[in-house]
Amino acid sequence: MKAFCHREGLLAACQLASAAIPSRDVKPILKNIKAIADQGRCTLMATDLELGIRLDVLGLTIQEPGEAILPAQRLLAILREAQENDLNLEADSSSCVVRGQGMEFEMPSDDPSHFPDIPTFNEDKYHEIAGSTLREMIRRTVFATADESTRYSMTGVLWELDGDTIKLVATDGRRLALAQGTAKAHGDHTTRGQTPVVPTKAMQLLERNLQDDGQTIRVCLRPNEVLFRTELAVIYSRLVEGRFPDYRAVFPKKQGIKVTLPVGPFQAAVRQAAIMTDDDSKRVTFSFGNDRLTLLAQGQTAGRSKVEMPVTYDGKKVDINFNPSFLIEMLRVLPPDAELTLDLIDGATPALFRSGSNYSYLVMPLT
């Protein structure tokens, strides 16, 4: 293939693509970017065999169509260091040459047919969501996925897309985050009957690629993979095997006492109380009663803490124990001036925290 490129356009595209390049030891070809130049367009692809990115290069004129493997690391370096704005790119299965005013670089290349392609987004069935909404939803859920691989189905985020609702659920068996939002369905796209789980890594990549600029993104969930189309790129990821736990069954059936907690002060209180917890037994007792919430912690070696904060509470006295990290992680992703509603039943039932109508967070109590 042969093409005229704008340095900045190519640089931006390569940088974006290389987010999918694996850092671990892999076959050399996967450390590189595949380029397909065809019909006036140049597409770049990178993958680590689990997820991938595919995007078009802007400001590029194709002189000769074709496919080639571009050595990512070196090419990025060239694009960063070169001063020229216009570059000439020529590549085939044995070498890749970059030419500009007063400079010429040649690098060995590879056979493009050895590169596993990333599918394009040609879907007519998908959901469309506002980028900012999705980004917020991911932020509020992805921290709750399981990081240990004892139960693989929880090492990602569950997606539910049906009609005009989108739900993201993440859990590690001890706490569960559920975020909801609005979406627009196209062509009967739905996840009903399936439980697609997108790996944490892919969720994080997606989050990084979403801007707050009013753009929408398209999501298509297929039996084995998910495709996201943002303004600039298509992000592809394989789904996780296994059955995601039935999260609905986990929510308590009955209503409890409702307590309103302001996020900022509550977070501060929890953080304070948590100072006196050990790594071994991270536990803080939340004592509700008499218009007051008392947080108590007693570490085995650290000492003890007692923090109080006023709340409107006139129900019976309830003591419930939580791992403070689970609360802090959740509180961190909410705006400090927001309000949480805590649905409290007793010290033995999971506690449900809600923020607005779009976010629920369930935490299992410790005994």
Partner: protein
């Protein structure tokens, strides 16, 4: 509930692709367990009377149903229709547990979760209430492999069990579970499954799969499984997958890489006939057919074990490894060799089998073992062992030549343990003389003559010594030449009965027949020559020194050293041509005192 034949689990519709037999036929209810009626009964009673313990410990060999039972119990406890002794199998909980994917049932293999992180994980997670079910159930397999920290974490929870938690611990090695844990669990011992039990279930499965199998094939499979159902089913699965419509014993052999029984018998016969060359040929043939060395050695071990049993218990003994039509031949073979030799063969095969595990030279090890086995002479007493120890390597003679009669003592590298175990008692006569024999040639002349002199009597020896050393005039012909001045002694020594005595002693010492004659050298002897001849006294002194040294050497021999250390063995007698003449009681007392 009356004891019933366990029913076959209904074959659930397979997921995409093929699911192995072991998974499809895994018992899903108590009634489907094989061979664990007592346990099933006890658990059912516990459930019915709402007396399910906080913690159970299932012990027993691999593949007998511990994990299956644990899962069944979990289903019973958490079934939406429960707690019940008949879990419904269709509710979300039952299905999830069956698939091994339930949120509230944690299956852990302690061998893979030993670290301190897992210990902390265990302790902190146990506090969370179950997400969906009635109970949070921990099934910990191979629990004896937990690290100390993990054990302590477990212990704390077992001491103050949260009401919503049940532990089901399983282990193949109850000995290694600390008493602190044992005492807090209700223990159930799972029996190893019997051959008929396993064969029975295999038959049911074969029928359910719409196939046929030779009973012998199923028998072979069950034997291989060693009492574990999962291994048996796995093997059956493979055979049904790879094999033809009807499963035959032949297919089982091929899959396992073992040799057909006929071949094993042929190999064994060659070995027992002391024919290493033929044994090697048979081995080459088998190796070419893909027989695995470890398998073959296992089969030889079985054969030798059968020989041992036949030797001790006679032809009518019941459980032999080989099919009945080999019995007569094997019995004959077993009778023809001493038990000790069979045992030595077993030792050799066992150690070879152990070495095969880590070796890259399997074929070579087996060849060496076959050669050693084929050369294993009937077991010799300790005396010959020590003689062998002192000699380092006697030439075997040219390859392929007829073996010299009789061959020098060889033990193929193994010490004769029996001589020591019996605390120095004489092992039974082996048909040859009971002494270690020594070949008489130029090199050994002095030694051998010394021994002869020590056995023919003091006075006679003194006379013989005056002639100095005899000479080997011809093969098996010894001549003693007296110098001119010693005619009187010469006459004395050449008396027929004395010549016979010497010849007899020679036979005893060398194991061969030798001719002895006395002659006159026709020359006078010089004083210096006299000086240089070994005197009787010197020879005897040498003998005593040798006895002492021999005893020291014998005591140093590792087997004997251990016998002395461990069993308090005492060297009572060292027979070896050191037997002093009957008349010489003092010398005997001396050596007895030394012992």
């Amino acid at each position: 509930m009356a004891r019933q034949t366990p029913s076959l689990p209904a074959d659930p519709a397979p997921a995409e692709g093929y699911t192995v037999l072991a998974r499809r036929y895994r018992p899903q209810r108590f009634a489907e367990l094989v061979g664990q009626h007592a346990v099933a009964q006890a658990l059912e009673n516990a459930i019915k009377s709402d007396r399910v313990a906080h913690a159970y410990l299932f012990t027993g060999p691999r593949g007998v149903g511990k994990t299956s039972t644990a899962r069944i119990l979990a289903k019973c406890l958490n079934c939406e229709q429960g707690p019940t002794i008949q879990p419904c199998g269709v509710c979300a909980s039952c299905k999830a547990i069956t698939a091994g994917e339930d949120v509230d049932v944690f299956e852990m293999d302690a061998a893979s979760n030993r670290g301190i992180d897992e210990a902390r994980h265990l302790r902190s997670n146990v506090q969370y209430r179950p997400s969906r079910g009635r109970y949070k159930i921990y099934i910990i397999d191979e629990v004896h492999m937990l690290t100390r920290e993990a054990f302590n974490a477990l212990l704390k929870t077992l001491e103050e069990p949260p009401p919503h938690v049940k532990f089901i611990l399983a282990t193949t090695d109850a000995q290694k579970v600390p008493i602190t844990i044992l005492s807090r669990c209700q223990r159930f011992d799972f029996a190893g499954l019997t051959l008929p039990q396993i064969v029975g279930r295999l038959q049911d499965i074969v029928a359910s799969e719409g196939r046929e199998a030779d009973p012998q094939a199923l028998d072979l499979i069950a034997r291989r499984a060693g009492g574990g159902m999962r291994d048996a089913q796995s093997l059956l699965d493979q055979l049904l997958s790879f094999g033809t419509e009807k499963l035959t014993a032949e297919q089982v052999y091929t899959l396992l890489g073992s040799a057909a029984d006929d071949w094993v018998a042929e190999l064994a016969t060659a070995i027992l006939a002391h024919n290493p060359a033929q044994a090697l040929e048979a081995l080459a043939e088998l190796a070419g057919r893909g027989v695995q060395m470890s398998e073959l050695v296992d089969q030889l071990l079985n054969y030798w074990r059968d020989l041992m049993v036949l030797n001790c218990a006679g032809e009518q003994v019941s459980d032999l490894n080989l099919p009945p039509h080999f019995r007569t031949t094997m019995h004959q073979q077993a009778r023809a060799i001493p038990l000790d030799t069979i045992l030595a063969g077993l030792d050799l095969l066992s150690s070879t089998r152990l070495r095969l595990v880590r070796s890259n030279h399997g074929r070579l090890l087996v060849e060496m073992a076959l050669i050693r086995l084929a050369r294993l002479e009937d077991l010799l007493p300790l005396t010959q062992l020590t003689q062998w120890v002192r000699q380092s390597g006697v030439a075997a003679g040219p390859p392929g030549a007829a073996s010299p009669a009789p061959p020098p003592p060889k033990l193929g590298g193994l010490p004769a343990v029996e001589g020591v175990k019996k605390n120095g008692l004489m092992p039974p006569e082996t048909g040859k003389n009971g002494h270690a024999t020594r070949r008489l040639d130029e090199e050994s002349l002095t030694d051998v003559w010394g021994q002869v002199l020590a056995q023919v009597g003091k006075f006679f020896a003194a006379q013989l010594e005056k002639a100095g050393l005899p000479a080997i005039s011809r093969p098996n012909s010894l001549v003693l030449r007296f110098p001119v001045d010693y005619n009187q002694d010469r006459d004395y020594c050449s008396a027929p009965e004395r010549v016979s005595k010497v010849e007899e002693t020679l036979r005893k010492v060398t194991g061969e027949g030798w001719n002895f004659r006395v002659e006159s050298s026709g020359v006078a002897i010089s004083p210096s020559q006299v000086m240089n001849q070994p005197t009787a006294a010197a020879v005897r002194e040498a003998e005593a020194v040798r006895t002492r040294r021999l005893k020291e050497e014998v005591e140093k021999e590792p087997i004997i050293k251990r016998a002395i250390e461990l069993l308090g063995a005492q060297i009572v007698r060292i027979e070896e041509g050191f037997t002093l003449p009957e008349a010489d009681a003092t010398k005997r007392n001396e050596s007895a005192e030394e012992a």
